[in-house]
Symmetry: none
Subunit: 223 residues, 4 copies
Amino acid sequence: MAPHKAPDSSRRSDRSRRAIYDAALALVGESGYRRTTIEGIAARAGVGKQTIYRWWPSKAAVLMEAFLDLAARAAEEAASQTGGTGGQAGGTDPQAGAAEYGIPDTGDLAADLKLVLRATVDELNDPLMEAPTRALTAEGIVDAKLGAEFVEKLLDPQLALYVTRLRAAQEAGQLRSDADPRIALELLIAPLTHRWLLRTLPLTHAYADTIVDYALGGLAPRS
Amino acid sequence: MAPHKAPDSSRRSDRSRRAIYDAALALVGESGYRRTTIEGIAARAGVGKQTIYRWWPSKAAVLMEAFLDLAARAAEEAASQTGGTGGQAGGTDPQAGAAEYGIPDTGDLAADLKLVLRATVDELNDPLMEAPTRALTAEGIVDAKLGAEFVEKLLDPQLALYVTRLRAAQEAGQLRSDADPRIALELLIAPLTHRWLLRTLPLTHAYADTIVDYALGGLAPRS
Amino acid sequence: MAPHKAPDSSRRSDRSRRAIYDAALALVGESGYRRTTIEGIAARAGVGKQTIYRWWPSKAAVLMEAFLDLAARAAEEAASQTGGTGGQAGGTDPQAGAAEYGIPDTGDLAADLKLVLRATVDELNDPLMEAPTRALTAEGIVDAKLGAEFVEKLLDPQLALYVTRLRAAQEAGQLRSDADPRIALELLIAPLTHRWLLRTLPLTHAYADTIVDYALGGLAPRS
Amino acid sequence: MAPHKAPDSSRRSDRSRRAIYDAALALVGESGYRRTTIEGIAARAGVGKQTIYRWWPSKAAVLMEAFLDLAARAAEEAASQTGGTGGQAGGTDPQAGAAEYGIPDTGDLAADLKLVLRATVDELNDPLMEAPTRALTAEGIVDAKLGAEFVEKLLDPQLALYVTRLRAAQEAGQLRSDADPRIALELLIAPLTHRWLLRTLPLTHAYADTIVDYALGGLAPRS
DNA sequence: GAGTAAGCGAGACGGTACGTCGTGTCTTATC
DNA sequence: GATAAGACACGACGTACCGTCTCGCTTACTC
């Protein structure tokens, strides 16, 4: 393998890094991922191309970091506004973003899930987030390495919140005790993702509600 | 607007078309979609570049058609082996591919679904199909037009089979009468797609079975 | 060796070739050879970079050809004006340029040489020719391959004219019969080249005359 | 204008300076002037790039100084071996190098010139000196400022020796009294330089001898 | 059966972006 | 305060493909 002598990150220019994040997100939003080029990002950020190639292996990696940074900043901002500790998740990890404040636990599982899934629907339908999220997801589907990073850094932290909430529901007797929360959560999340990614049918609050109802109640007739 | 004078498809070279299909699929399988180029396909197919540009608007479109052709040929072959009449779907449409023969109806909904979903799992895990399917899906996620074509030509025909089977189940009293089959099906299909696309966790027969059980039985405890 | 599959020169675009010549000469004249870039030439010529890289191995090679072409066109023009028959040199070879019409032979060797050398002085002092000629010469000094081409295509044809004239002088008894014309000519030419290349002292008509006198008469006192 | 605040040369690191000379000469010898880079010199010399930029304006200037230093060291060595005062040139100027010991004066002008010109031929043919000398000369041809420096520091001191010897010859009646020594010398030197720079024909001792004979005796037949 | 028009293999063309290299400036830490 | 190290903005390098174009050639269809 290429040793490639890693650059000295202590001397890295923060100014350039942030400018690159901004430029990358802006360009992807404006022109789409395909038409966004590294040269374009560099030009827009007022940065030499080499500064990008020095710190990132690919355009996708730049976008990924920019995206993570965006989420982190959003979370920080949210934290400073609400004054802090949301739910059960420890507040120090900036990665998980807005979702880190956990899924509420009012005692009514169905209601709590609908609340969260409706929020997810809104987020997915947000035109600002759409372009970069789609780009990143699509890239991850084709590039296994990037996909793994995407899952690890963005998806898994969010899914963990569901696991937590579902376990609590199990203890409260609102979820079958023999159900695997990790799989149960997929029954809830996957249909939304499916519609969003493949654009088969519109993704609405009503749909989210229906999914919760079907998943909890089951498709088979209750005897 | 120049109407672009559509070429006379009656004079089209079938030999070239097939060679392009083969080259496209082979190259995507070998080097990935990204590294596959139109020039590369033309060279491998022993074809002029213009012959590709004449008939297809994009690399993705070439791959899409190659893929549809592959599915059609596979279906044809399957048909000639089983002697023909599949399920309820009329056998003349080559598009729907292998799935067109329908979901069996033995009277046991759960068993039938598990059978079909296990087959889907196998198909998704088939390394031959993996690269082009992923490439096409990813492209469709970013390019709405292509995505629509993908859904219309490949996905919808398959989903229609589920709708048919689920409606039958409803009439047989094995599915809640108030359930929308189009949504119910997503509860079953989406988790598989989710795992496959995002590679979160392994996609196995056991997982398919569990999904069927959870979806039919519901996550909430039976009273 | 790299096979490199030579391009099909019969399909070459003449328009592009000439545009490249013009751009190269103009840029070298305006900004100097150093600051002239292949990208710049391509842009100025309205040509893709690859069109340059396809046909020439280096910037120097482009300039060399442009220069030869310039000389050829100048010669052609001169020919069409004077109506043709120059001196003893056959008029069909476009390479040698203006010099091909030979060195006059009035019977007075010294006068003839002074005439020609004064013309050479003027040519070397012509600011239009200066930049590209210097660039080419300098490049040839460092790059032996290019230098050989320079000598073969530009210098040797001119020197041959001197050989011819000096041989005639020998027969006329105006040049020592034991003198090698090829070497004799260097005594005449080299001092001019020397001053021009190294810029030691100004290069004037008087200097040319003096060189002829010294070379013919010898530096030693006549007994 | 920023006067560029000249650095304090008293604090300059001699160690670095010499390392840079060595690296520059070595690299030019190994890879040619073109492929030699300032970064490469710095790396090879174990020196920061800034140390080069602080003290020299260009790559050519570095090489020029390195070359002068080389000549000076060679002269010093020669001096310490022969025990000292060579000819008429005062021994304190290190610039002129080996040539400073002057052109011998045995009374036989032709023999003395042949001796010196043969030595020059050998020096020009020395493969060690060839690369840097060619590089420097070529650079000077294109860059007038550098060329002037080259002439002033390297060429003129050597030519002055010829002037001295030729004047002596004039006084001894071996050179026409009306001949300008500065021009006469060019008749002798320029042909050698010409062959070496342009590589038209091989540069040999015999050639040097012939040049002396032709130049002294003249090309015209002696009456 | 000759004439003609389309598709075809081939590949040159004007371009855009790639990823790398070197420039000359600047900053940081060391001596 | 000069130095070794090296990040930075910049710009050119030479390459790979893009999508368009023009060449002869082959292959139907038309008259």
